[in-house]
Symmetry: C2
Subunit: 468 residues, 2 copies
Amino acid sequence: VTDTDVTWVTDLRNLVDVNDGESARDQHAADLSFHPPVRPQVVVYPESTSEVAAVLAYADRARIPVIPFGAGTSLEGHVIPISGGITLDMSRLNQIVAIRPQDLTATVQAGVTRLQLESAVGPQGLWFPVDPGADATLGGMAATNASGTTTIRYGGMRSHVLELEAVLPSGRIIRAGTHAIKTSAGYHIGGLLLGSEGTLGVMTELTLRLHPIPDHVAVARVPFPTIEAACFAAGTLIAAGIQLTRCELLDAATIEAVNSHTNAGLSRTPHLVLELSGTEAAVVSELDVVREFVRDDGATGFETVSDPRARTQMWASRHDALMALLALTPRSKAMTMDVAVPISELPAAIERAHCALDATELRGGIIGHVGDGNFHVIVVLDPADATSLAHAKSLNDRIVEDALARRGTCTGEHGIGSGKLQYLEREHPDLLPLYRGIKQLFDPNEIMNPGKVIRLGDAYAPGNVASA
Amino acid sequence: VTDTDVTWVTDLRNLVDVNDGESARDQHAADLSFHPPVRPQVVVYPESTSEVAAVLAYADRARIPVIPFGAGTSLEGHVIPISGGITLDMSRLNQIVAIRPQDLTATVQAGVTRLQLESAVGPQGLWFPVDPGADATLGGMAATNASGTTTIRYGGMRSHVLELEAVLPSGRIIRAGTHAIKTSAGYHIGGLLLGSEGTLGVMTELTLRLHPIPDHVAVARVPFPTIEAACFAAGTLIAAGIQLTRCELLDAATIEAVNSHTNAGLSRTPHLVLELSGTEAAVVSELDVVREFVRDDGATGFETVSDPRARTQMWASRHDALMALLALTPRSKAMTMDVAVPISELPAAIERAHCALDATELRGGIIGHVGDGNFHVIVVLDPADATSLAHAKSLNDRIVEDALARRGTCTGEHGIGSGKLQYLEREHPDLLPLYRGIKQLFDPNEIMNPGKVIRLGDAYAPGNVASA
């Protein structure tokens, strides 16, 4: 800590609770991925929007990087303070401000977690369906436009945030959107902040859409002889208009890992796990249609449950997948690749990814929200092993290139962070001048989460964008 | 036409088909609303994205306003060239580029109309549900983030555009989004262009999500003793999680106008018209639930049909509403107000609007996409009658103020155009510096549809936004 640092840390203590202890800095140095940790100089814990505003206004004047931090569950280095600075821990902004059952909305502070909201609205017969797996904060989920298993039915975060409050780097507080379900009023500032990964400002409050808990839910577990057959069957169901609530793929390697981790005893072939929900009559009738379709597409079994406990158990294999894969290798971290392609391209894209993974020495598996054309190749490795890391990065390169060639995207749901900067540049080279212009507009001093979404230090001259 | 005009018109003729005849200019002077017409100097008819780019690059250098024009069905003056200039008629960009039934997507040029797309994809068992009523172009619908009767189930334009091609004022061509159903890659440039009303650039191609045509559809027409009871019933159905495909309100005045226009013979009370779709079993079971709910909420009847011809007939009262209201007054034009509120606020908001309308001498009615909390007070008047116009504007003011007080929006789906500039400023005063910054970033010479969304000639100094 330099003398200059000492000065600003002292200043910050007048604005907000500050912790510059080793332990707090260590806890905020990394996310859940293989990306190497870097510690912030300090961690601050604002307890209100105005404290967030005070910190940002100060940091902006002093040109100190600010890194918003939710639950630290990101996978592309989003919360890693690669240039040092202040980590803004949002965990004390954890109030559920309002639940409105008639409107099917709730207003929450940004540090409220997904499961905290679920516990609060469940007793009122409501749920918030966006489920990225981890118990992320809703602010963090908004910042990466997170989605997950239920996106096929309900959409991701951009479909669920009606209004947001955010603090801009100057300390100005803005609200975008309204509490009405729809609007065509003005430029879509809310849509821009959603998915901006803390690089334009900090979201402090969200008004979210909720949904009534469905009357009846059924889960079906369906084994297939090959991964292509499983993907093809998913495509058939989508094209036929079957309204699935979830449509998840697990490859044979993942099933094997789950078996050895939990004694699940599943047949060692690729599986789809499907969920349907609605009135009981609707679910029962659609389940029959699904059974016929998947049989025609080569399914070798069809097991269904609807009791809540049995459903949880059937979903466990999917939820345990990452832990089961990590358990394969001691001291390992995961590189979780994340591409999405048009659904007609999915069987070929997954087949290619599967062969590419098999051709390496790397351990891992493939899981996917295949109803959305989104899949993850998960490689488990020791990040200190430079050779494995290089092989995994090269595999990631190939999988992304293949997805882009199929008119897909380099990230279906995890975002860019610092891990996918070069992939974003390959995906949208024509948009980079606009990205830089937007960054300059919101954050002219480049204090907000520098080095994420767009490269650090890109000098940008406003007005040149249109003619660049 | 001045000498300067003659020069640039001559230049334009080298780039694109130009029409400066009286008739073409008259046809592009107005939209469907009461807003007074203004003629462009010329109308141009690009036949390709590169012709659009050539026109924009030329107009940007010469500082000539460019007004994109789809089908001219907007309601807030969006296509009226209030500062003159070049109207860019997109009607020749009318190719359906691709239909992909497996992916449930289609790629269209921006001048393709909604019904043209419907005809093309219908034989493949698919439909594009966003239905603003008029046979608008899909580019125009994207530019206003249009929605309509099916938004309650399927969402509006922002939920349906996966990828777009647009031309920026400099003539640069960009693509935002991909063909994958979801992505978290980079700032949401597509979401910014959607709803930008031609003020940031011109969309030339769209890749849209389609949906399978539902197996079974049923429509229910339900009379209520009061408009509040009808709104309350709509709220009950939404909160209960009934998956309606449409949920439309017609007030007694509109029903009366429809009766005299078409001899529909409906009971002269407010009606809800509801649509359900899905498997037959699901629809039948949900219809029973709906019948019970609306009876409990005071419905005085319940008529249902499922045969396609009968459904069309039942929907006719809704589709004919505007024409029926216009028929009340010779030479009249409509001022179609358009607010949205949280659904719990709907009965009170509509009750207040209803009383406010009754307290004037104005003729009109109230219709609404009430499942979304969105409603229209439609006033029919002779725009040359200054007193009526002043009363109507004052009514609009009150309705918008009331919606904003209820945390709603000044426009649910029609957009800002030139008609709602002051309402947008009241709704989002804190966002205006960002709006100006975004306008400056995309369109530094302010040639694109000037005077729409944000006021004309607002000098904006980049870099000041954050500290404004």
